[in-house]
Amino acid sequence: MSEHIRAVSPITGVQVEIMNDVSILVGGRAGDGINSAGLIVAHLLNHIGYRVYMYFDYPSLIKGGHNFALVRGSGSPVGAHRNRADFILALNQDSIDLHGDLIRDETTILFDSGRVDADGIPVPVSEILKELDAPAVMGNSCIIGAFARSAGIEWAVLESVFRQKIPKGLEKNLQVARRGYDAAHVTQKIEPIGRETFPILTGNEAIGIGLLHGGLDAFVAYPMTPTSNILHFLAESAVDLPLDVVHPENEIAVFLMALGFAYAGKKAAVCTSGGGFCLMTEGFSLAGMAELPIVVVMGQRTGPSTGVPTYTAQTDLHFMIHAGHGEFPRLVVAPGDAAQAFTWSSLALSMAWKYQVPAIILADKTLCEGSYSFEQRAPPDIGEADSRMDPGEYRRYALTDNGISPMLHPPAPGAVIKVNGYAHDEAGITTEDADTIRIMTDKRKQKSASLKAAVEDLGSVIVRGKADASTAILCWGSNLSVCTEVADSLGLRLIQPVVLWPFPVETFQKALSGVERLVLVEDSAYGQLSMLISGYGFPTDDLVLRYDGRPNSVEELVARIQEVLA
């Protein structure tokens, strides 16, 4: 495309360009299938060699309102949207009226001429549907067809994408799309740049697949945005897999059932968001005391309370680190894109089991419901804990050097396996004895230390951008991609701790070496990561916070970073 990011780095003075960069807005009402339409557009780009990213924006309602998808294609990996649209596919008037800031002179606007008034290429969607006797929901196939034509994407590409993605009513959809295709003309050609396709996954799907890869046996969940789709995805997938998916009466039941699975030797995970997580905290503390492995996928959204259910936030970091009464080891990882989501979900499950601790995959709406070109990276093999012990002598909480006790599951012939949320002795029997309480607390502390060491070993802090720059952007979770892009373009260092607890202090310190100015980018009002690292003596110089539920576009963030650095 013609226009690229042209930012002059205030640090290096270098002007950076991102090549082969295209942005497309698809907008319509809830119920118009905007999410699927956006995904099809993403797949068109995927099939001509682009890495893609899609941000999907929708209010909390079922029909009506305004939904839009921002699809981005690029020659290199992407995970952020831009503040411009090269193409707009408008199925409602809001897609034009609410997005003036994205429109450039060269923007191609394709619009449903029956519903939308705009300058650009009109597509008579309803007429076409009527002529072909096609249902209203096929309207987006029509406009996609028009888009393909105007972007110079070959019909064959569209046809093959449709064949794969729209098996239901394929022929009719193709007819509709063809009519859209014919109604338009080439405006800006998106050049094919390769033939390799990548799977396009939402963060939610990447998490689900990562858990499956890690050996997930059971998934228990009560629906809650933005993680419900993990439940839906795994429920769909369960048919082919040795996987039980259960949707119980509420989150309390969810968590305790999952602990039941874990006790019986099945690797279990749950998903939720803040309000549901609150209801799990009592069980979370039980998992800590009883040393039961469990993984919680916790998708942040704008809070507090019900907040803004379908919008993003990064405001639960401290809650995750401290949730549950009493002190016990836990793991908190915050992947930043689909690739990390896969790797760290798999790892979180393995680590939860190896260290017999509860683990949290801390995601956010931007990650969960964003779609990414996915490149699979095999997670490192961390091995398993030793579980050998003479059954007759079995003690669930036997003391060991690393604090990890051999874990057996019933039926284990001859062994009596007692787990207990009270303070207990090695055998799992309740105790009130001062020495035993202290010794068992030390055991759990030792486990913390073992986990901490493992986390430092795993390379839990990512450094990107200009590695020797003395100004660094610090971020976590879904801010990874936009910050990476901005760091690259401004010649800054990028630092992202993927593991947030136990905090990888040494690795983080190394990542900081030579940094004189640290700028935190976070979707919160208080700067949660800054509060966390200040506890380890790491100051943050600038906070670039956003808390209106929307993620930053590349341009918005460039501007804000330039502002604080000016």
Partner: protein, 283 residues
């Protein structure tokens, strides 16, 4: 810990005269009988909540999951779903199962989860020193209600029946033999087996003579007859003065949740190729 005995050597801290002893012994005897029949006790798991009753997890020398107040049932459900070959017995208090975690009781019945639930119903919070529970009679003077409660109890048997329960019984810690028999029947029943055990709390609510005067065993009762079950259950409402029937009120066969869940499974494919398939579909 080896199973030379079914009772651990943990110090027992129930009050003298507490009905929990009877439930402990009854359960031990049932498990011994099952073991003699050839069932391996390695496959038995005891789940408890928190309360006096729950200490049974420390005292029984079998696999156990000593969970948290009110959450006996979902834990037991998870264990049973994870491994249908396990015999899962949940011991809950009335505070546990009827107050803090009531919803789970209704859903276990609704789903017909294949677990056995023994409610040690002493009609008081024992361990927290004597507050009223949902089955305490109207006017009960506990520590949170020094002037007497102002709410009638509910009848848990009726609730479980309305929720879809398939095995509903009431027993008493004063009648050891029948208690044992009914627990045995409950364990044998495929599906959600629920036994409300009127348990004596020697310290905070000693109803021994009250119960002795009113208890009778169900006779000529057709366990499979829903209407008869209703009538019998309603005879005593946990409040007023009426004969208190003991025995199995209702029993019927029905698919279990676990059975239906595992019935769904197709032949399992291997994990990696399933993942590859999922990924390929998304290219």
């Amino acid at each position: 810990m080896t199973r030379s005995s079914l009772i651990t050597d943990a110090q027992n801290t129930w009050c003298p005269g507490c009905g929990n002893f009877m439930i402990l012994f009854a359960l031990r005897n049932v498990l011994e009988a099952l073991s003699e029949e050839g069932r391996s006790l390695d496959s038995v798991v005891l789940v408890s909540g928190i309360g006096c009753h729950a200490k049974i997890a420390d005292y029984m020398n079998i696999n156990s999951f000593y969970s948290i107040h009110g959450r006996t049932i979902p834990v037991a459900t998870g264990i049973q779903l994870a491994n249908p070959d396990l015999t899962v017995i949940a011991c809950a208090g009335d505070g546990d199962a009827y107050a803090e975690g009531l919803d789970h009781l209704v859903f276990a019945a609704k789903r017909n989860v294949d677990i056995t639930l023994l409610v040690h119903n002493n009609r008081v919070y024992g361990l927290t020193t004597g507050q009223y529970t949902p089955t305490s009679p109207l006017g009960f003077r506990g520590r949170s209600t020094p002037g007497g409660t102002i709410e009638e109890p509910f009848n848990p048997l009726e609730l479980v029946l309305a929720s879809g329960g398939t095995f509903i019984a009431r027993e008493s810690s004063l009648q050891m033999d029948s208690l044992q028999e009914t627990i045995m029947e409950a364990i044998r029943h495929r599906g959600f087996s629920y036994v409300d055990i009127l348990q004596i709390c020697a310290t905070y609510f000693n109803m021994t003579s009250y119960y002795r005067e009113r208890m009778y065993r169900l006779k000529d009762h057709d366990e499979s007859d829903f209407d008869q079950a209703c009538d019998r259950m309603r005879e005593w409402d946990y409040n007023g003065d009426a004969p208190i029937g003991l025995g199995i009120f209702y029993r019927r066969e029905k698919d279990t949740f676990g059975g239906r869940l595992s019935g769904r499974k197709t032949v399992a494919v291997d994990r990696e190729s399933a993942i590859r398939k999922i990924l390929d579909e998304r290219r």
